[in-house]
Symmetry: C2
Subunit: 414 residues, 2 copies
């Protein structure tokens, strides 16, 4: 019997450790979120600067660069605060993503030189910032893909989708800033911006579907945002055709987009802190149960607990409670087994949903990658192709993505 | 740069640790598989013994009891060989399952007494052994639900389905043994056996779909099995209706079923050892890569590697290789990032499939449980209901299960 208790207690201890790893991961997500936010601002202002041929926002851009560098330093500090290998859940994949992210960040100094010297087009700057932010988002994505507690996993998936939606909003801001600042927009830029808008709406819908716990602040934010103004500027941006754009609107555009993006950033911080609080609460709760169990454990040598549960061949067999001789210990163990198994079951059911939404993201991303490589399409075109197939065949985009991946080898090269 | 390398190496080290945990888990699966095999034999002979009112197989049964006890002791030894909490992947859930299993095993001594004294019906003995084996299989199930390497995960899922199919075969053997030994079979027993047959066919189909790596031994086994004889005995068993059964056939039935079940056990051992070998091979391989990286790592202080990769803002950006100044280190790092990311991606895609099949098992099991509880059905009836709904609505059983679980609260009580 002591055996059963020992392993129940070990199981709880593992859960606590898993939660501690998760709460470390939340700190990372907060730090990375801050860094992403700074890079998004730097990207936007770099495009105002480049789009205006260096005429505007040079100082503001330099200030953003300094912010980004400070945020990157904080990320490095967080990394150094992690010692042992098993300090993080999902170690192998998370550390790989960290290596990617650091590798991407190392490209920034040269990119910044090229921007300062106007040796780089807005589009190129945009693309290279996009890759860095993408590498950082991939880190958050891995962090979200841990199965320790259903509610926490839902929150992490909500957080990831929020940050992804925010990045699409950031790309829209940067692309629009470049267009307004240069005073013109190409058809391809229009399509790219339409794509960023559709993607951010999708990501934010996914965020909403997982974010019951932050609905109130989310709705409050929505109410406060200059959405009508944003839509008005979007219309000007996307319907100018060959008529050209009013460069004077560049600031209005940047301000309006930023108001929204900063709002999303607040929600993001709020949500990440909520997850961390949830971890801490669960840790305390489990710790409490562990202490109770240790007491139980110390009792049971005196109690000779074998008798009450011996007739009990089935875990959670109701019979056991009936002929359970009412020993306090016997009942506590049955209760513990029951509560533990209920927790496992709920986890399972919930996680199936949560995981699916993550797996679908991965499938669609990879299928887009395959199409971009094999057919030489850009991201928007690859996605439009996926969506077109899905509509024609009346299947979900993830299904089409799955099909494409299974055909990768035989897909024709463009 | 040293940073990037450090985290790539840490990632590999995490992978190695994960594989070491997995290879420990494989030892557990082997031990548990042996214990299950003994309990299945004991269950079958206990039913021959009980069915014949203690007239037959008393000695043989005692021998099986001894085997089961020895196997249980080995399982305990394995448990004691595991010290630290993070010695196993999926700790919280695995240790909970271990507690369940131990708890179930503790019921056996009393069950055996009752059987020896004929104070227990074949059906009751059957049900109570079923719960113990079920608790042990749940352990294998958790072990299979780890995501470290796609091929290994597929093999573990194959192994779990094989062991599950073998258990359904074991139940069929025990139920049939009781029926032959008593010389009669009720309609309900017939239905139960038909259910065990259908379930084992399903589980073995799933096994086959994941078990490319053991196809050859599997086909060799199939060829050698007395399947015609088995089908002949099944026919006699299931078409006797009220005419009664020839008690003399009890041994033939037990022998025939056992030949098949022992064969499945051999494949199970073969597969578990194959998985373990695969783990070891992968560990060696990664270890080798790690050593190479350590050399690389020691070089790079001399090399000042920043230059070659500095212009490289995108992970896996082909550009980087172009202007990569051809430094050995730069290239190695790009290669490492690439191979690492490919490994992660394949893992993702593969695991999506593997996991789905696990999640579906869980969903169907839980939905059956809900129906049994709410509608007071037995397992077979619950499954038939699920299947009927699936057929009528032309949906997959897992979808119906999902729907039922989402309605649990509002389902009518029987």
């Amino acid at each position: 019997m002591s055996n059963v208790l020992t392993y129940l207690i070990t199981a709880r201890r593992c859960e606590v450790e898993e939660l501690q790893r998760l709460s470390r991961t939340c700190q990372m997500v907060l730090t990375v979120g801050q860094l992403i936010h700074c890079l998004q601002q730097e990207r936007g202002l770099s495009n105002l600067y480049l789009g205006s041929g260096g005429q505007r926002d040079a100082a503001a851009r330099q200030a953003r660069v300094a912010n980004s560098q400070a945020a990157a330093a904080e990320f490095q500090d967080w990394l150094h605060s992690i010692e042992q290998d098993n300090a993080l859940s999902n170690g192998a994949r998370l550390y790989t993503r960290i290596a990617f992210a650091l590798h991407a960040l190392e490209g920034l100094p040269r990119l910044r030189e090229e921007i300062s010297a106007l040796r780089c087009s807005p589009t190129e700057s945009y693309e290279r910032f996009k890759t860095v932010v993408g590498a950082l988002l991939a880190l958050v994505f891995e962090a979200a893909d841990v199965a320790v507690d259903a509610q926490i996993s839902r929150l992490l998936v909500a957080l990831f989708n929020l940050m992804q939606g925010k990045e699409f909003a950031g790309r829209e801001r940067a692309a629009g800033a470049a267009a307004f600042a240069t005073g013109k927009i190409t058809r391809e830029q229009e399509q790219s911006i339409e794509y960023q808008i559709e993607m951010q709406e999708q990501a934010l819908r996914r965020f909403e579907s997982f974010a019951e716990d932050v609905r109130a602040p989310w709705q409050a934010l929505q109410a406060g945002l200059p959405l009508a103004e944003l839509e008005r500027l979007r219309r000007k941006l996307l319907t100018s055709h060959e008529r050209g754009l009013d460069a004077e609107m560049a600031d209005a555009w940047y301000q309006c987009c930023s108001a929204r993006i900063d709002g999303l950033h607040q929600i993001e911080i709020h949500l990440a802190q909520f997850v961390q609080a949830r971890c801490q609460a669960k840790i305390t709760e489990l710790q409490q149960e562990l202490d109770d169990q240790d007491q139980l454990f110390s009792q049971q040598d005196r109690l000779d607990p074998l008798t009450p549960l011996a007739g009990f061949s089935a875990p959670l067999d109701e019979q056991a409670l009936a002929d359970g001789v009412g020993s306090h210990l016997a009942h506590s163990i049955v209760d513990m087994l029951r509560s533990q198994s209920e927790r496992l079951q709920n986890l399972t059911a919930e996680l199936a949903t949560v995981r699916d939404s993550l797996e679908e993201r991965k499938l669609i991303e990879r299928a887009k990658g395959v199409l971009m490589m094999k057919q030489g399409l850009n991201e928007e075109a690859a996605y439009r192709l996926l969506r077109k197939h899905a509509m024609n065949q009346n299947r979900r985009i993830a299904e089409v993505a799955q099909a494409i991946l299974s055909l990768t080898e035989i897909l024709p090269e463009a």
